[in-house]
Amino acid sequence: MSATSDGSGRKNWTVELRKRAVAALPPEKLLPDGQPAYMSSWIYVFGVLSLASLVVLILSGSILALKGPTWWHVTGIGHFFNSMHLWSVELFFFFMVIHLWGKYWMAAWRGGRKRTWITGAVTFLVAIPCALTGYVSQQNFDSQWISTQAKDAMNAVGIGAFFNLLDFGQMYSWHIFLLPMAVVALVAAHVLLVRKHGIVPPFILDGHEQVLAAAASDGAEAAEAADAADAPDGQPEPATEAPAPPTGEPEPTG
């Protein structure tokens, strides 16, 4: 990538970066005021539920990190935030798995959305060791039991020397910094890619193409136009997967 002029003849990488960012994600696309009507289904809710769980997870975890193990073990408010952290991670995985199932069965990688799918799948894989390192960082008998059992698994796959589950300091660093940073970065990339390529349209049943095409929504058309312009792998939506929703009107996102 070469730096380009900002109009004054000088080379300026920040201007080039800004131009590319705005071209890829103009404000109306980054923060839209409507979505295709086919998004009016409960199955489309689980992505944002995962995101909400992650926010609670990070906030409760930040408080636990500030206060320390003695606080979360012996005080009432510490127990409360400890439980909030536990249940938010339970819900995070609960919602994320249903989100994964929904996107898998609707082949959400269609229409140039491969990177969206891949970042989501990798987020799921990275979140697993993030949770594991949390379970072994509890500083109680439960964490000791889990770490000694899981150590065998790490040794079995040959990474026991680098990823020592019995080392609290190492696990705590992985849990509160390295892995959460990776998860947040991946989720951010995932959400931006969803904004860039739009929500994947559902499969269309045979015989419903004309009905759906006649009821094409503004939001869906915009998403498809963006796909056609942005799809790097040259895979536009098949004709039988028309973006048109059954009800036509775009739904406001609030």
Partner: protein, 54 residues
């Protein structure tokens, strides 16, 4: 709650060939499957879009 759910014992395990799952994990998996089915089957609440100029 502690009286209703006594957790002071090892969990019950379902063991069938290579499948080895605790009952609590089976319950969570079943609830996820039910939530997935309901998310597909239940109608999403609709509301009218106000397109009048403000």
């Amino acid at each position: 709650m502690a009286a209703v759910f006594n957790l002071n014992h090892p969990p019950h395990i379902a063991h069938w060939h290579f499948i080895y799952l605790s009952v609590p994990n089976i319950i969570v998996i079943v609830v996820m499957l039910v939530a997935f089915a309901l998310a597909i089957l239940l109608p999403f609440p609709k509301h009218k879009v106000d397109r009048s100029p403000s």
